[in-house]
């Protein structure tokens, strides 16, 4: 059933693109490349979103719960997560490059040595890709009730205590003092994702990607539906602002994952696997769940004390 749904999504997507392509090649409309690309992007959006929803459903309905282990390694990311994350990365870098190029051209009032129609075309393709990956992930997470990257209901104070302990001492003290946290208490054990990832990094991604997609779609639809000039002005301003925020966010994300102590996490984003010893040391909460779970697909390792776990620094 789930494969039929996915196939239906692929067929509808192909049909939607074909109709737009036939209209474009027929020469009925006297549009230039930029306007044609804008229309193609805007018209393909419902089909892109539909395909992403079916992919999210396909992923969620075939999801295997429980930890998967082999050779003293535990699976941190599913293969499809690795691929979707890589696609999102490529889309994001392309969007930052092409969007930054457009903004700098206006800011510097300079002529572009690259044909701007090509820059916009790449921007639209990358935007379609980012929307596709985002909608697929969101659909999958909503259907599965996945919340590993969120703080969880009623866990705010506990999460902030974890965050304050992970941050460098001066910053952690500021967070603790501002929120009135009792930092003498032991830090809550780190789960699959660190408190920094759950409380700071992922919410910032959500904000920046959410803003850039909503404002980008409104901008793309301006030739399909009339949008008042004042609204479009502010939408464009927010789009540029969230683009800069994404550029900054990517810097911070790379800083976090390229820290030498976190290299196994970085490698896990490519292979999907992370050494169990690393999980035991830096993700004690997740480790204790893995080792106590009966759903493991191989022999569980010897549990060790989680109290000696090292605190992760962002």
């Amino acid at each position: 059933m789930r494969t039929v749904m996915l196939l239906a999504g692929v067929i509808l997507f192909a049909a939607g693109l074909a109709v737009s392509y036939v209209t474009w090649t027929s020469g009925i409309q006297p549009w230039g490349q930029l306007l044609t690309d804008n229309f193609l992007f805007a018209r393909s959006l419902p089909f892109t979103i539909g395909l992403a929803i079916t992919l999210g459903y396909w992923r969620a309905s075939g999801w295997r719960s429980g930890a998967e282990m082999r050779d003293q390694q535990v699976r941190r990311f599913a293969p499809s997560t690795v691929w979707l994350h890589a696609l999102a990365g490529v889309a994001l870098v392309t969007l930052i490059a092409t969007g930054g190029w457009q903004y700098l051209k206006g800011l510097e009032a300079a002529d572009s040595p690259i044909y701007m129609g090509t820059v916009y075309r790449l921007h639209f393709i990358a935007a379609s890709l980012l929307i596709f990956v985002t909608v697929a992930f969101v659909t999958d997470w909503l259907l599965r009730g996945e919340n590993a990257l969120t703080l969880g209901k009623g866990q705010f104070i506990r999460s902030m205590r974890g965050l304050a302990r992970e941050l460098p001492r001066p910053l952690g003290s500021i967070v603790g003092y501002t929120l009135g946290l009792d930092l003498r208490r032991a830090a809550p054990p780190t789960e699959e994702f660190t408190w920094y990832e759950r409380a700071v990094s992922f919410p910032t991604w959500e904000l920046a990607i959410g803003l850039i997609i909503v404002t980008g779609v409104i901008k793309a639809l301006r030739y399909v539906y009339p949008i008042p000039g004042d609204v479009l002005y502010w939408v464009s301003a927010i789009h540029v602002g969230s683009g800069v925020l994404l550029g900054i966010k990517l810097l911070d994300h790379l800083r976090y994952v390229l820290s030498p102590s976190r290299w196994p996490v970085m490698a896990a984003m490519a292979s999907g696997w992370i050494p169990l010893g690393y999980v035991e040391r830096f993700h004690p909460g997740w480790y204790s769940r893995i080792t106590s779970s009966e759903a493991t697909t191989s022999t569980a390792p010897t549990p060790s004390s989680v109290s000696s776990a090292t605190t992760v620094r962002p």
Partner: protein, 74 residues
């Protein structure tokens, strides 16, 4: 692989610093000065943010190449 990632990230950080510099010079330039503080603030703060966040990334890129990654215990 660590070296490749460190190199790519360092290039991105250096590019971000250059773009940040362009944002700040444009924000303090003659053209935007005439348009008021509100229009100057956005590129100025964005440029400053890009530069400030690029520095720790550069630091980590160097550390990734120089330091040996911590071996997992056990």
């Amino acid at each position: 692989m660590r070296f490749v990632w460190a190199l790519l990230a360092a290039l991105y950080a250096l590019l971000a610093i250059y773009v940040g510099y362009l944002f700040i010079t444009a924000a303090t330039g003659e053209h935007l000065t005439q348009k008021g503080l509100l229009l100057q603030a956005a590129p100025f703060l964005g440029g400053l943010g890009l530069i400030l966040f690029a520095i720790p990334l550069l630091w980590n890129c160097v550390a990734l190449v120089v330091r040996r990654p911590s071996a997992p215990p056990g």
